[in-house]
């Protein structure tokens, strides 16, 4: 099963995504694909908070800030549930962390392909994305390109997913299908 989980900053989407992953995984192996790159103290704190949240839930963490296709080789050949967190970081990394800024279409294509491959290798794939679309601000070209790319990726993933859930103040709200937890 593939599940897409969206929500804003501080919406409780991570905690919910972890709960949903644990529910789906059952006895299978549980992987956490961490996409965030650390640049400063704030980033480190954010990661530490996430690590505390995940502690004791049985996740094996794989750091994968770019090139999601490389993940398959890093996992065991058993039944597995994968939680990827989060698409907004992965998209930003793919777009901005190479020597030159990548075009949105190229980023969309690369990520979509990577997720397709990952889905084939997993029993359950849960992807956390981010609702960054509703502040009504017109940004510079680079940020607009980023918004366009992430929006397109979300659209494609939602089409592909069995279940799409929005988390609002910690509460799962169905968008497509029935929330898994």
């Amino acid at each position: 099963m593939m599940v897409l989980i969206t929500g804003g900053s501080g919406s409780g989407k991570s905690a919910y995504a972890e709960k949903a992953s644990v529910t789906l995984a059952g006895e299978g192996t549980l992987y956490y694909l961490a996409t965030m790159q650390v640049y400063d103290e704030e980033g480190r704190k954010k990661i530490e908070r996430h690590q505390r949240l995940r502690a004791g839930k049985g996740f094996q963490t794989i750091e994968q800030p770019v090139n999601i296709t490389e993940v398959a080789a890093k996992m065991e050949d058993s039944r597995k549930t994968v939680l990827l967190e989060c698409m907004s970081n992965l998209t930003a990394n793919e777009m901005f962390s190479f020597s030159e800024i990548k075009q949105p279409d190229e980023v969309v294509e690369k990520i979509y392909k990577g997720i397709g491959l990952l889905k084939e290798k997993t029993d359950h794939l849960l992807i956390v994305t981010n609702n960054v679309f509703e502040d009504g601000i017109t940004y510079d070209t680079a940020t607009t390109d980023y918004l366009q790319a992430l929006g397109k990726i979300n659209e494609k993933l939602a089409e592909f997913a069995d279940v799409v859930t929005e988390v609002v103040v910690g509460i799962p709200v169905p968008v497509k299908g029935c929330p898994v937890a």
Binding site: G8, S9, G10, S11, E134, D135, I137, V168, V169, I171
Partner: protein, 127 residues
């Protein structure tokens, strides 16, 4: 306690007044709340997000103050903007505000008997 959330200018207060029948004079604005505290007759706190923002600006812990308010007013109705659905701001203070408000609302939602999200003046009960 009940929680009503939604984006800016979505008709939240109007919706809550209509739904609950509580008169306007039982509504307190969050900025007034920050100054005056809460009295028995208050039914609704409006613009709750501004209360959190104010606390942060003044270096107070909004979590502690919110807990005290709820403990003293278990029937309170809270109306708040949702502010987390945008690009992560450049300013650390803005990021902090979004995160803290988000987490506080998650905590309130857990305790609330009822949570509704208002879009275009229409309530969607999510708890």
């Amino acid at each position: 306690m009940e929680l009503y959330i939604g984006g800016y200018a979505q008709g939240k207060l109007n919706y809550v007044l209509k739904q609950t029948g509580i008169p306007m004079d039982k509504v307190i604005d969050a900025l007034v709340l920050a100054e005056r505290g809460i009295s028995e007759e208050i039914g609704i706190v409006n613009h709750f997000h501004l209360f959190v923002r104010n606390c942060l600006r003044e270096g107070k812990s909004p979590e502690d103050l919110v807990e005290a308010i709820i403990a003293g007013n278990p029937q309170l109705i809270i109306i708040s903007d949702e502010v987390g659905n945008g690009i992560v701001p450049m300013e650390a203070e803005e990021r902090e505000y979004r995160e803290r408000l988000g987490r506080i609302l998650c905590g309130l939602a857990e305790k609330a008997l009822k949570v509704e999200r208002i879009i275009c003046g229409i309530g969607q009960r999510i708890k």
